[in-house]
Amino acid sequence: MESRLRVLLLTTVIALAGVALSGCALWPFGRHHAADSSPTEASDASGASPSVVDPTVSRRKVKAPKIRSSDFEVGVYAGSYSAQDFGVNPVYGARLAYHISEDFFAEGLIGTSKTGLTSYEELSGSSALLTDSERKLTYYNLGFGYNIFPGEVFIGRNRAFNSAVYVIGGVGATKFGGSTHFTVMAGAGYRLLLTDRIAAHLDIRDHVFQNDLLGYQKTVHNLESTLGVTTYF
């Protein structure tokens, strides 16, 4: 009698466990909220009625739509370049920048200037220290910029232009006086966006390098101030 009771109890437990397990299998855990709202679905799910979720439907792939980007900035500039001992002269150049974030940008520059006479050459009137080709100065520079003061400027009542004051620094080389010198550049600039794609720039840069044109090694600081225009693409 006792063993029959035990068998009965065991079979009940197994049957219950079986029902519970099958229930769990048919009932996805992620849909608990549905169970709360309609408890009758349990009997539907275990029956032969069509399932709510069709497993053969694959997830649709959403492609990133093409949005025009304009992280690059290309342009030209002109201004004055003060070559230490060789006078202040016009300079022309081109720049390419890549805006990494709203704060940082990478920038490449190439520029050229024709330097003048030293005071000694002008006073003595005859002996030239450099040939014409040696007097030509060209430089390239690669560096980073940081927009320290982004903002807006207001011209009149109805016009607002985005702008930024930035600092720049980089390394490059300057070819001058018959040799090429490793150059460190530091400076600051102001960018005024005339439209979202066109900007005007005002830059002050200091090009620092060592040369031995006057017979001994010395560090020269060549200050450059330029105005430029760029376009974003």
Partner: protein
């Protein structure tokens, strides 16, 4: 004299400015004309904030309520320029842009040059500076990944020493051990040519063109977006026409983009 070169210098800039401002299209075009070129999304957040510029500090001048549609005109860094139904334009940040819906009802998915792409992007362009045999060196290189580990690279370097200026052109094969590591070491081996122009004040020694070979080690460190930092050491052997070959050691560091 001064005013003359000033005019000469400023003339092209003035001309370009004039051209640039003249060439720009009218600010607000009729919507129907160019709507087809832009991605149209509808606002899914309670509202979408439009700023006057692509930066966190610019003021919010317009709020587009949920359900209304905007055209996405362009992207600059992580900011998107949008135009609403009334033709008003403004800038929206990436985080908010990603919570808008396409016409299909899907969330707008935006290209994100994240680290995942860094491992997959085959092209790499970088600029470095450092020391070559005691003098300064500036270098630029481009690389193409053949597979996860191997890439072919070509570079141009300008070594600016006290006694000479050299220009190197190199081609090399680089092996990255574990590309998925955030700081990832690599080795490379390559060959190239060097043009050495000695500096001399009195007698100009002749230009030399030599072949070279090198091996190197280095590491790349992923920074963010399309950027990484890269530093390497290289040991060069210059095969000279004289009895003895020359050794040069070089280390350099810089930044690289991948795309």
């Amino acid at each position: 004299m001064t005013s003359q070169w000033c005019t000469r210098a400023l003339l092209p800039v003035g001309f370009l400015l004039a051209w640039a401002t003249a060439a720009q299209p009218p600010a607000e075009k009729p919507r129907a004309l160019d709507a087809a070129h832009f991605v149209e999304v509808s606002v899914d957040d309670p509202y979408l904030e439009m700023r006057t510029g692509p930066g966190r500090g610019y003021p919010i001048t317009r709020v587009v309520p949920r359900g209304e549609r905007v055209d996405v005109l362009m992207r600059r860094t992580d900011w998107y320029k949008v135009r609403d139904d009334q033709g008003k334009e403004g800038w929206v940040d990436r985080e908010h842009m990603e919570r808008t819906l396409l016409a299909s009802g899907d969330r707008l998915k935006l290209d994100d040059p994240a680290r995942r792409d860094y491992e997959r992007s085959p092209w790499e362009i970088g600029f470095q500076t450092g020391n070559f045999g005691g003098g300064n060196v500036n270098a630029a290189y481009a690389g193409y990944a053949i597979n996860d580990n191997l890439s072919v690279e070509t570079g141009v370097e300008q070594a600016l020493g006290n006694s000479s200026t050299s220009v190197l052109g190199t081609i090399s094969l680089s092996h990255t051990f574990v590309p998925r590591w955030r700081i990832s070491p690599f080795v490379d081996i390559g060959t190239g040519v060097v043009r050495i122009s000695p500096k001399a004040v009195i007698v100009e020694p002749p230009l030399r063109r030599e072949q070279l070979g090198f091996w190197g080690v280095g590491a790349k460190a992923y920074l963010s977006r399309r950027f990484m930092f890269r530093a390497d050491y290289r040991s060069y052997l210059i095969f000279t026409q004289s009895a003895q070959n020359e050794d040069r050691r070089e280390w350099k560091a810089g930044f690289a983009f991948f795309f």
